[in-house]
């Protein structure tokens, strides 16, 4: 069927099969390969995008469900060369190693900070629960999200 989706600010109209997952529509049809597939069973969170501003796992949504809606991917965050504060914090805090989970982490952190602009450390950990990092850089990812929220990220670990 024909769908019209606004992706990263541009409107696209395409013929898709009803069974096509949103993530494959983004990757194979639109070439937005920044949104990656890690587990294929809605567990790892690497494929997270924003659907009408709210985070979803795009391996778990059909492209036809996005018809008439707006999608933001990792490729649509930066304004030219200017990174968003979340992206900048991930770069700065070394919140990435292999980088494969990074797009999903950044999208979920973007959603988290939109609903809770000043989260505590624990709120970050729970708010990011659906995103797995295997390298595994959780420590720095939490720091990056806190830094992006404008809160001073401590350089070392906090006492439990």
């Amino acid at each position: 069927m024909n769908i019209t989706v606004k992706v990263d600010g541009t409107s696209y109209t395409d013929e898709v099969e009803p069974r096509t997952l949103l993530v494959y529509y983004l990757r194979e049809t639109l070439g937005k390969t920044g949104t990656v597939v890690g587990c294929d069973t809605s567990n790892c969170g690497a494929c997270t995008v924003l659907l009408d501003g709210r985070s979803v796992k795009s391996c778990n949504v059909l492209a036809v469900q996005a018809d008439g809606h707006e999608v933001t991917t990792i490729e649509g965050l930066a304004d030219g060369e200017t990174l968003t504060p979340v992206q900048e914090a991930f770069r700065e805090c070394h919140a990435l190693q292999c980088g494969f989970c990074t797009p999903g982490m950044i999208m979920q952190a973007t959603d988290l900070l939109a609903t809770n602009p000043s989260p505590t450390e624990d709120e970050v950990r729970v708010g990011m629960e659906g995103n797995l990092c295997r390298c595994t850089g959780y420590h720095n990812i939490v720091k990056a999200v806190l830094q992006a929220s404008g809160q001073p990220a401590s350089s070392g670990g906090e006492q439990a």
Binding site: E17, T33, V36, C39, I74, E75, L83, F100, L132, T136
Partner: protein
Amino acid sequence: MSDAATEQGRDRARVDAPLKVSGLAPYAYEHELEDPLFLVPVLSTVATGAITGIDAEAARAVPGVALVLTHENAPRLALPTIPTLAVLRKPRVRYRGEIVAAVVADSLETARYAASLVRVDYAAPPSGPDVRLDPEDPGVRPLRRVMGVYPGQHTVGDVDGELAGAAYRVEGHYATPVNHHNPIEPHSMVALWHADLGPLATVQPRSTRLTVWDSNQGVVAPQGVLAGAFGLLPTQVEVISPYVGGSFGTKGMPHPHVMVTAMAARKLPGRAVKVALTRPQMFAGTGYRPETRQRVALAADEQGRLRAVDHEVFAPVSRVIPWVDPTAGPSLSMYASPTRRVSYRAQHLDIGPGTFMRAPGEYTGMFALETAMDELAREMGMDPVELRLRNEPEADPESGRPWSSRHVATCLTEGARIFGLEQQQQPGGRREGEWLLGMGVASASFPQMGMGPSLARITFTGGRYVVSMQASDIGTGAWTVLAQIAAQALDVPQDQVEARIGTTDAPYAIIAGGSTGTFGWGSAVVEAAQAFRAEHGSDPAEGATTRARTRMPQGVRGVRRMAFGAHFAEVAVSEVSGEVRVRRLYGHFDGGRIMNPRTARSQLVGGMTMGLSGALFEESYRDPRFGHVVNADLAGYHVAAHADVVDIEVGWVGEPDPWMGATGAKGIGEVGIVGVPAAIGNAIFDATGLRLRELPFTPVKVLEAWESSGPAPAATVR
């Protein structure tokens, strides 16, 4: 300038970070190619037997299907040196999850659907598959060698005599489960067999016949395997792998999908064929850390000096590749003792083979050894750090060779001070509500292997220095660190140097494995930089280029090189649920010179986090009725998530090791994971008095231990 001061100067953000935070780093599958085809493998649903028929008519009839590949129509290839790669050759199955067919179609949806329609009939062997682990099986045999280099049987002195007459003695049986690497990027590949190259192409050594974009730990492995199988020269196979989404050992050697995808490309010249394994397919056919059953016995004199170290390992082995981890390795080298015995036994099964997984052997063996050391310290009433200090070996106990450097004692004492290690005389006395608190310590080690020299080339072009080699960045930061090493050796600002790695179009380098990358590749880069300056001076002409190789100091074979560390854990154990939470984890390491503190910290913290994950959660359950892992996705196989990782920090000695080549760095990718489960288990003992000897420490194990150790202490919990 002191090394610590220059270390500060080496603290650099990753050069690949801007791409990675923008979704612009192309991993294997992310390379955009025109009009690609999609391959989906079909896996066997039996563990062993003959394929009596494959009905692919329904799959072939699906519009969009370009090819159904089976043993009946697969290209005939030379027999590969890696036995798992001998796929689609014969109508037989060697393990459950072996690739028995593959469907190629013009969309992923079509390929997946068509693959589900392929019907394979099997004839099981009369005896049924042999997949049940059993240490008492009559087929269990002692091993002579492990991984080709470690002794399978090794005895020094009268171990039994010392154990019988010792002042103190502990003995325990330990078990570790199957673990799967689970990098977040699945094993992925794109293969393109070049069409219409003209009649002379086959004989031109520089003419690329096959290009693959592959997720691996080193381009040289798929290049060699594919060239050999397809009768090509290595130079005719181009491998491009700039970014790799994690590996931990599983992408070190090619797996069957690599061969099958190249076969499909061979039959469909001119079309790019893409594959990305699903998570269950990764569990089936990309290797794993094999399970172990271990027995460790220690004897000590009145002063806590070890008199005997006895370590027995039982492991299952795949009949396809006899992979066994060198689990008893730590018992050969960690502590001084006049007597020592190491022995391995193995049971051969119809299962897929294991492979390297972050610190193979050291991880499982150190869990047993360092738990046993804690048991001994408790038995003696001795401080666990002190017990370890008393058994520091002057030289490598196994070989007698001197250490290149060994700062275990510093790691233990400095680490204990920074962490604030305080254990209870009597476990179970510290609590916060339902949570019992405790602390534990364990040592870590990882051998520094020589994997052979790598080559690096430095070229001056456009006012910048380009350092190129086949090195691979699997998340370690190699893109950044190699450029840093070059800049330092060339004495130029880092922004004047760029690395070019992850391609066969570069000088040969060893794979990113065995924690050898930074010192092995780094030494080649330093050599190349020095040779470059010697040849071209400080004002080189455009295009000036020099190549050099890794060089290790003369006499390096006469010393024993290892990285070391000590882990400290504080845990809370719930009396209500049996859940274990790690509140703090601190590691202090002897990793030689630290090349970039930022990337080094990530490697060590990452290893420790994976160790925490293995200690508490990770277990692949291979169902003995079927022969495959049934909890084969990231919902069934738990890895640590954000909330499990509260406070992890690292420190290091930072002393360069002159025997590690020009960098003075030891490999640190693996030592971080070694010993973590023992430190956590020892902390659980301190918290609860429960000695857990089987990984992972799930609520089931904690509660069962509690139930069997008498009345529940939780009766008054509120």
